[in-house]
């Protein structure tokens, strides 16, 4: 039959256009992204951090120093050729420790957001769409969590358990979902009055279909932007918890823990505090710049 062939032709033709359209969309996004040099810088910074964290064992001069290693004779060395950023109280290379420490901080962020974002988004969607009592209950619970600063809440939860980096993550995750819940709830509430949602209803789409196919994609870009900005905040909260002594356990150290230990030796042995602080600053700044840039890139373009 010839229809088959012609149909095939039609679709290949279409696929070409499809590719062109995708290219165009990417191009537009890239254009907006590029126009904002600050966000470009942010992207590079984040990529660099992630790269260094992943390949930490290969890019650090003393990978052994990240584990159980002590060399008390060599402790507290000021920055020098052999130890660019000096050594710490155990005699470990601070540069190596920073790279491995940021690895932990990044993991913390990934896990916290990996748990809390889906939960928050799901609850936000459900509450926003269902409305009524469901919404009241979910949003009031959210309010309860939001009425305490994240750090305080995490501190309370963390102190109740054995402190460790995974408990800290759990603690932060257990409150972080509320932000996404609130964000998505707001978006859902406004999106559900849009005519395309009503159109889907008229077409007989089930609530789940509407939630996941119509509403969720519209939450995606604010949520993605929020995630990048969150990443900075989670690192901050995590660093705060670590600073108060509830962070990673020795011999591993995240950046907050490093600062907390290093602060004990200020001001004489400043390098133990200053460099990890700069590292935190670098990461958070990277994420924030990136998030800010993405906000523009992911915004829906208004019509022609």
């Amino acid at each position: 039959m010839s229809t088959r062939a012609s149909h095939h032709q039609v679709t290949t033709g279409l696929n070409e256009t499809r590719w062109m359209i995708i290219k165009d969309r990417l191009g537009r996004g890239w254009y907006k992204f590029r126009r904002n040099p600050i966000s470009l810088v942010g992207g590079v910074m984040v990529l660099l951090c992630v790269f260094l964290a992943i390949f930490a064992p290969y890019v650090t001069p003393y990978p052994k120093h990240a584990g159980a290693f002590t060399d008390f004779q060599n402790a507290f060395q000021a920055p020098s050729k052999s130890h660019w950023l000096g050594t710490d109280a155990l005699g470990c290379d601070v540069f190596t420790r920073i790279i491995f420490g940021s690895r932990i901080s990044l993991m913390l962020t990934a896990v916290v957001l990996g748990i809390s974002v889906p939960v928050g988004v799901f609850l936000g969607l459900i509450s926003g769409y269902m409305g009524g009592k469901t919404e009241t209950v979910i949003m009031r619970v959210t309010d309860v969590f939001l009425s305490l600063p994240a750090l305080v809440m995490a501190l309370a939860i963390c102190a109740a358990f054995t402190p460790s980096i995974d408990k800290a993550m759990l603690a932060v995750a257990s409150i972080w979902w509320t932000w996404h819940c609130r964000l998505v709830n707001g978006i859902t509430r406004s999106i559900k009055t849009e005519e395309f949602v009503q159109a889907s209803k008229v077409l007989g789409a089930s609530p789940l279909r509407i939630i996941f196919k119509d509403i969720l994609p519209n939450c995606a870009s604010p949520v993605i932007v929020k995630i990048t900005l969150d990443a900075g905040f989670v690192i901050l909260v995590g660093a705060g918890l670590s600073f108060l002594g509830l962070g990673a356990q020795p011999p591993a150290e995240d950046l907050g823990t490093m600062i907390s230990f290093g602060a004990k030796y200020l001001p004489e042995r400043w390098w133990m505090t200053v460099f990890p602080s700069l590292a935190i600053f670098f990461i958070i700044l990277g994420f924030n710049l990136l998030g800010d840039g993405l906000r523009d890139v992911l915004a829906v373009e208004e019509g022609v």
Partner: protein, 339 residues
Amino acid sequence: MSEPVLKVENLVKYFPVRSGLLHKIVAHVKAVDKVSFDVQKGEIFGLIGESGSGKSTVAKTIVQIYNPTSGMIYFKGQNLSKLTKQTIGRFRREVQMVFQDPKSSLNPRRSVMSILEDPLIIHGIGKSRVERKRIIHTLLGQVEMPSRYMYKYPSALSGGERQRIAIARALAVNPSFLVLDEPTSALDVSVQAKLINLFLRLKKELALSYLFITHNLSLVRTIAARAGVMYLGKIYELGTMEMLFSHPVHPYTKTLIAATPVVSKEEERVKPREMSKEGEIPSPVNPPSGCAFHPRCSIAESRCSQELPSPVKVGPGHLVWCHRAEELAVRAEELVVLE
């Protein structure tokens, strides 16, 4: 007359207004208040009225986005309040709607393909993706759009194109009745003209019936066979185009026609003398008592503000809800005769 496709009887839709400390219902927006009309098979029935008169609410109640506060809607003889889980699917395939705002009627985050595929998936039309693609191809053809638009996103479409996609989406389930809620009001005249022609063509080709909602009198005159004139949730005049435009009876209808800007002398001749005073449209929360139009009506009497007018039949199929309908109808007749 044969059995109508759609029959609306005493339809009422109130929206609660909440307020106060406990968020209690303190009042109702009487968006639709006892509206009755019917639509014949193959007919275009128009619903006219100013903003906030309840036109969209009627439409959304018919397509079951809202549940009516009271009143009955029959589709092909079936009472819609009696729809069950099983029958609602069939109803959804029979009755579709096209919305007013081309900006918000398509999901900006989905491609045209995905938007058009949705109804097919929901109703199990087209077994495979390839088949669905073919159907979409046909649908786009029906609304006179090239197939390559399949992969575009709404942001890349003009208002007219978006409305075409919205129409294609409605047509995807192969309905017999379309509710068109001001589908062209946001568009330019030239685009509107093309769309109107498309509607007419589709109606003929697919044997559709329309409920056509608009505030543009010239447009309803051009396209519809019969129409109802709504004001603050109620229909005040209902009749065929001929009757409504050459013998308008209700002062409100006349006001509307008189206020319509026109582009030719012939049309100017059709315009009646204005029948209203300056004034704003009152709130549907507290509509004026009696005939809701009386504060703006230049010939209102004391009873107009007290009693609700009952329908008066002033011609074949021509109903007017006005206390002075009979005397006005006579004068209208005279006017026509005189000219």
